[in-house]
Symmetry: C2
Subunit: 310 residues, 2 copies
């Protein structure tokens, strides 16, 4: 079901190609910027490139807490059996846990941390809620790749996110280096919308979260974007943070190194951009993948992260 | 069939682990070094790291010839059907052509080029012949990874190469960069021999050339080697060359970028190290993978590469 009024049609009979973005990247400020907002220089870089890399953002003791929590979750057999656990294609190894801001009190606290929230609100010019959260684990030796994609394309088509007014935040829990399959971004790609071909199948998420075949950009469009902006792979120690626009084309390679690559992924969506019905006409994806029940804005939490008493 | 006198036992009931190399890396010179031999400094680096990277080794016009020949071979439908053509797992795309120094007059001439031969003879302290040659193609967008391996382990077990007295030479036909799955090497790994578990199946090469599961080093050994020497991925323009020891642990990641990564691969073996019977007790691999018929030393060819008249 293609709605002709849809600014960001994709799949459902569309031919592949590139359209212009029809939304701002940085939204007008509704309120004065918070204490932890980006500098003008950083914000200009974000507007231009579609991402900003903040090296050594969290101090070591807080990073140790966050990594410890990830290790606890991976060791939790019941959690590995839950629907929130996505395994690698052809194996039982966990690739991602979803909804971690609700599964983990520590990660819930982190999602609302003023140091992150001030930036998300500054970029989106609105109050925000968590549209999706996940813990991504790319083990050493055989961590698998994520092919290039715009998250917004999927969120729009499969979740009914109306406009490009969301920002993703990745918190590195392990060092990202040249060899462990770091996040790769195409600078400037957020200003283009790559229309994808194909029809979304029912329950697409059950396979697409392991390996995506539908909603995948074509080679010509990717070549165009890379010719314009190149590829960048931010590298840095655990505790570094990347904010990137919901429409920035990104992916990551395989990890043959002995170094695991783990990160946390929070998607902040403007409350004014809350989900409507999926554009593809199918039933919405489950709540653990795309928040639909509760768009209450996050309340800013300040001070360092502390161990959660169990 | 494991021979107890074998210095480099592997598979066939062995448990995984690391043994010391029992052969020199750089052999005593039999003759004065040739005109194009490595400098003492370069040779010392090769001895220490197990490889040497020679940036911008061939001039642009010769590189263009070599790349054109690769494109001609890929476009040759009959050649793509030959046994020398190895396809990607699960696809018809060519991953490698073998025996290219005989399939292509230009590549045959290149294999004997004094600029390469002088270095191979200097390192091995002997005359040399081509044990194996191939053209490796890693296409953009979906080039697949090669997992870590020591070539010598396979050549010893499956081809009957007696000692570590061979050197591989890679000629970059396209730029190798951070994003197109460049060759990765573990410096210093050539001084260790990683014994692999498993039994070699009959006709192992038919699957192993696509994706190797037997003769694969274990995680603990790889972690040890990387902890000692780290990982290096030489990057540079087309025409650059890497020489690496037959026992240097290496691999390469996937290629998600739009940039194809193509290279030529010649293995020079000392004539005094010519093949015997495979250690695994199976029949030898085909001639196009491992030269067994003719160990005649290469004769040095000088002057620039020229187009081959067809």
């Amino acid at each position: 079901m293609v709605q002709s009024s849809d600014r960001y049609q994709s799949r459902g009979g569309q031919t592949s190609g590139i359209r212009r973005r029809q939304d701002p990247v940085v939204y007008p400020a509704a309120l004065p910027p918070g204490e932890h907002a980006l500098s003008e220089h950083q914000l200009a870089g974000y507007r231009r490139n579609g991402f900003v890399f903040l090296k050594n953002f969290f101090p070591e003791d807080e990073v140790a807490l966050l990594l410890g929590e990830a290790q606890r979750m991976v060791a939790d057999a019941a959690l590995r059996q839950s629907e929130e656990a996505i395994t690698e294609p052809g194996s039982d190894a966990v690739r991602s846990f979803f909804r971690v801001h609700q599964l983990s009190a520590l990660y819930g606290r982190l999602a609302a941390d003023a140091r992150l929230l001030d930036i998300a609100c500054q970029i989106l010019g609105d109050e925000v809620y968590v549209h999706q959260s996940r813990l991504n684990l790319k083990p050493g030796f055989d961590g698998k790749e994520f092919y290039w994609h715009s998250d917004f394309e999927t969120w729009h088509v499969e979740d009914g996110m109306p406009r490009m007014r969301a920002v993703s935040c990745i918190i590195l829990l392990t060092e990202n280096n040249e060899f462990n399959g770091p996040l790769m971004l195409i600078p400037g790609s957020h200003r283009h919308y790559v229309v994808c071909t194909g029809e979304t199948p029912e329950d697409h998420y059950k396979s697409s979260l392991k390996q995506q075949d539908i909603g995948v950009p074509d080679h010509d469009s990717l070549s165009f974007l890379v010719a314009q902006g190149g590829i960048r792979a931010p590298k840095g120690p655990a505790g570094s943070v990347v904010f990137f626009d919901c429409n920035t084309m990104h992916g990551s390679g395989s990890n043959l190194s002995p170094f695991p690559r783990s990160n946390l992924f929070f998607v902040y969506n403007a409350v004014s951009n809350a989900l409507q019905m999926p554009v593809c006409g199918l039933k919405p994806r489950p709540e653990f993948i795309a928040t639909q029940q509760d768009f209450t804005p996050l309340r800013r939490e300040t001070g360092p992260l502390k161990p959660v008493v169990r």
